[in-house]
């Protein structure tokens, strides 16, 4: 397996002023499952294609196991790729699709047959070896695409949104299969997706990309709980993190407060050190699952209360999403509460906010305020 290192990787397409990927730097360790996550058009597929050798690199360096790969053709990088559209050769049977790459590399027929048979057994493709892709279901095609990559036994596996063409149920089962496969093979894998559920459940680490730049890299829970800026905070999580304009101030009794509209909630003293550094206007970030109704606050939470009005109730079966608002705050606030909540539209309720999970962001830079 392999270590993949990107250093200041940049891609500017000819005729374009903007970089599709700019100064991208990260390292994927041996055996790691790195997920590149970002909205459509953010440059994650461009980065993947540069690693694969399907796009030229404008500047920066790409190394695999310490060896510079910038000018090495795709076929010589010992990388296999699974495409979003599977890219199966429609005129070939499944067996020939699996063997195509091995034939080109001069493997003996017996070796090719052995590998194809083994991979087909592993992925449950043995009954379909003599079928053509058009006679397969979406899930079967996806497994053939995966098999074509595995059969080559490469150093690095690349996945370009391989599950996006599958239905929801199949996506879940295939996701689990991919995770099992990674555990079984112990291979270095780089996976591109715009689906945060895939990123959170599959990745060893997530690399969030926006507008061609790396925004944050870290384990899924760290990126989720400690986003570095409002983009990451609002991109991860469904519903996304509530980001509300607020103000740090000191009350008449000298206690530190966070003003949200006409209401103020008590906050830890250390939060106010930011105001004393000259920063008073902040963006208050709180995840929907960290807002509780009275009577259902968990013991670990240190909370503060807010009066809010229910704008909408969305019962989802397993839980209920409440859309809330309060006076003088333009943004609506979303809360995820239990399924048996009896809140009604227009009702005024008190919610408890877990300050231990809350974050403050700088409204000018959008970055998280550390040490709060």
């Amino acid at each position: 397996m392999a270590v993949v290192n990107l250093e200041d990787l940049t891609k500017i397409y000819s005729g374009s002023q903007e970089a599709a990927a700019k100064d991208v730097s990260f390292t994927v360790e041996d055996g790691e499952f790195m997920v590149l996550l970002g909205p459509s058009g953010c440059g994650k597929s461009t980065i993947l294609r540069m690693i694969a050798g399907l796009e030229t690199i404008t500047s920066g360096t790409l190394r695999i196991d310490g060896k510079m790969m910038n000018h090495i053709p795709a076929k010589d990088r010992d990388i296999a790729m699974v495409f979003q559209s599977y890219a199966l050769y429609p005129h070939m049977k499944v067996r020939d699709n699996l063997a195509f790459g091995l034939k080109r590399r001069g493997f003996a027929r017996e070796e090719i047959n052995r590998r194809v048979t083994q991979v087909a057994e592993t992925l449950g493709l043995t009954p379909f070896l003599n079928r053509r892709p058009h006679a397969l279901s979406g899930g079967q095609r996806q497994r053939v695409a995966l098999g074509r990559a595995i059969v080559r036994d490469p150093k690095v596996f690349l996945f370009d949104e391989p599950l996006s063409n599958l239905d929801a149920a199949l996506r879940v089962s295939t996701r689990n299969e991919l995770v099992s496969l990674h555990e079984r093979l112990g291979a270095t894998m780089i996976y591109v997706t715009h689906d945060q559920v895939e990123a959170m459940t599959m990745g060893t680490r997530i690399c969030i990309i926006n507008l061609g730049r790396v925004v944050q890299i870290g384990p899924p829970t760290e990126v989720y709980r400690r986003p570095v800026n409002t983009f990451v905070a609002s991109f991860l999580g469904s519903p996304p993190m509530n980001l509300v304009h607020a103000r740090l101030e000191r009350g008449l009794d000298g206690k530190p407060l966070l003003r949200l509209g006409r209401q103020s909630i008590p906050i830890p003293e250390r939060w106010l050190s930011d105001a004393e550094k000259g920063r008073q206007e902040v963006i208050f970030g709180i995840r929907p699952e960290d807002i509780f109704l009275r009577g259902s606050v968990p013991s670990y939470a240190s909370t503060a209360g807010l009066q809010m009005e229910v704008v909408a109730v969305e019962p989802l079966g397993a839980e209920t999403v409440l859309i809330l608002k309060t006076d003088e705050i333009d943004q609506k606030v979303t809360a995820r509460v239990g399924r048996d909540v009896g809140a009604k539209k227009g009702e005024k309720i008190e919610v408890q906010i877990d300050l231990g999970s809350a974050l403050l962001f700088d409204p000018e830079t959008s970055h998280v305020i550390e040490d709060r």
């Binding site: 795709a74 790729m81 495409f83 195509f100």
Partner: protein, 275 residues
Amino acid sequence: MSVAQRLKQVAFLILLSFYTAFVAGPLFWVTTMSLRTTTEIAHNPYALPETFHFEKFYKAWVNSNYNVYFTNSVIIVLSAVAILTLIGGMAGHCFARYRFRFRRFLYFMIFSTIIFPPQITIIALFQILVEYGLYNSRIGLILVYVAFQLPVTVYILESFFARIPSDLYDAARMDGYSEWSIFFKVSLPVALPALSTTVILNTILLWNEFLYAVVLIVDEAKRTLPLGIQQFMGDHLEDVGMIASGLMIAIVPVVIIYVFFSEKLIQGMTAGAVK
């Protein structure tokens, strides 16, 4: 089924029958005439054959040099279609897949020639072929046919190649194949419906081509079938029976080609219509 639906069905069947008669009628008529003598046809042009004169085909084939014309047509058309398919395929593939300098200009230059009818270019072609010693030669006619049909061939194939997902080519590159190999092992096989379409269209068109053949070929031994049929048409007399027999000899290979490739032709025409 309601009365209105049934009436609609009947009306459609009547219309279809008229159309079938309109299209198939002349073919059927030529077939019957090919088995009758000219005298019989003169007495009653539309009658069915009472005696089947198969010896007319032999007469046309041997005595009237149809075997020579047929062979020439096969050589010239097959060669031209083979070259058109290969060059047209390569050009279509390049235009569809690659971005290179002067791509748009070349594209325009090739397709702008479609608007010129053969009547405009025939004199210039005649002069060029004479200058290069290709006048009155099979090779010269093959080259003219290739040049004449290349724009349409490239147009049809380029449209089809452009619809092939680029991921397929990326996958082939990752599998280690060169651009050359990708063209022969991936592009061409996947484009078989479109290739069949161009083979059929080119074969039918070039098999029946008359103008270039009559101007650029003068030797009896190098004539193609359309020119051979012409010899039965005199200034004062037309041997209608032999014309019909000659036509049947000319039609049969085209029908065979169509029957062989027609399934792919339909696939080529409808491929991509539904995702």
